[in-house]
Amino acid sequence: MAEAASLTVSVWRGAEQGSFARFEVPARANQTVLDVVTYIQRELDPSLAYRFACRVGMCGSCAMTVNGRARWTCRTHVRKVVDADGALELRPLANLPVIRDLAADLAPFFDKWSRARGTFQPKDAPDGAVPEDFAVVPPASKQRREADAGIECIGCAVCYASCDVVAWNDEYLGPAALNRAWTLVNDVRDGGRAERLDAVAGDAGCHSCHSTQSCTERCPKNLDPSSAIAGLKRALFWDTLLGRR
């Protein structure tokens, strides 16, 4: 298929209120969406605000809404997402306040990680002391495999922006925070299980999830937050039924 010589890029300008600005950007081979945004900012309009750091899919800072879907832009090739007529539409991530242009404010997203007790609480050294020996956690154990399945989250908020429950309920903790909680519930070195399950059990917690699985569908790291949330529901169900909480 012959590729268009240039891309027509509509870029959100403003904050919550704003409008699209259109730019013509030369089409190049192996061009990523982040390359396009960087071209606009360096060559066409230096006032464009956006965020990136590593450019290699590690830091999770460059996520935006590309043609209607939340994506990490540094690892998204233009040819995979562009319309047949060479059009790209770029907006900031949904479900988050907009700082300016393509930069969303991730503070509410990370606040919810704290509310879901996303911090490791060492069982052997609750006062912050260093344990005497390394914990041995067999890689093949069930809990280790559950934790490993969700541990590679880069905090890009693509799942959070793709989740309808977040859009419906401001307080909902969201897929990433609940996925983090599930990795810690399965961490045998962690001592905060009871408080963490309490933190994710409320109306804003795991039971609000409707299993639409948009988080799993869109996660650029191919993680499965939907199953992590299901795991939390399961743990809470059995703990409650058996009087363990």
């Binding site: 043609n67 879907r69 939340a70 639409t212 948009s214 199953s227 169900f237």
Partner: protein, 113 residues
């Protein structure tokens, strides 16, 4: 509503599950009313059952059966995800649920209608 972020099979399965649940809930009062006619006399129930023989009622009945099967199969899929932790092949499970629902509808059409 922008459907671009929502266009994937498990989202569709969610919508089908919700909508079928709502429609079934709306149907329930009618179902109980029909059963209630049996109490108030055989003739009334027979009259209703004769009316229900018309093609439009049969078509609605088939749709109802498909909705019921879709709601059941979709519910079993969600239960498997949540209680058994079946992570993998979610899209295949959605397809299987849809297949079961349509199959039940077909069996209903072939045997009952």
């Amino acid at each position: 509503m922008d459907m671009r972020p929502r266009s994937h099979p498990t989202y569709l399965a969610f919508v089908v599950h919700r909508v079928s649940g709502l429609l079934l809930a709306l149907f329930l009062p009618l179902h109980f009313w029909a059963l209630g006619t049996a109490i108030s006399g055989e003739a009334r129930l027979d009259g209703f059952l004769r009316w229900a023989e018309n093609p439009l009622a049969k078509a609605a009945e088939t749709i109802l059966v498909i909705l019921l099967a879709a709601h059941l199969a979709g519910g079993l899929r969600v239960l498997a995800l949540e209680f058994l932790g079946w992570r993998s092949r979610q899209k295949d499970m959605v397809a299987a649920s849809a297949g079961i629902a349509l199959l039940v509808g077909l069996v209903f059409l072939l045997n009952v209608v």
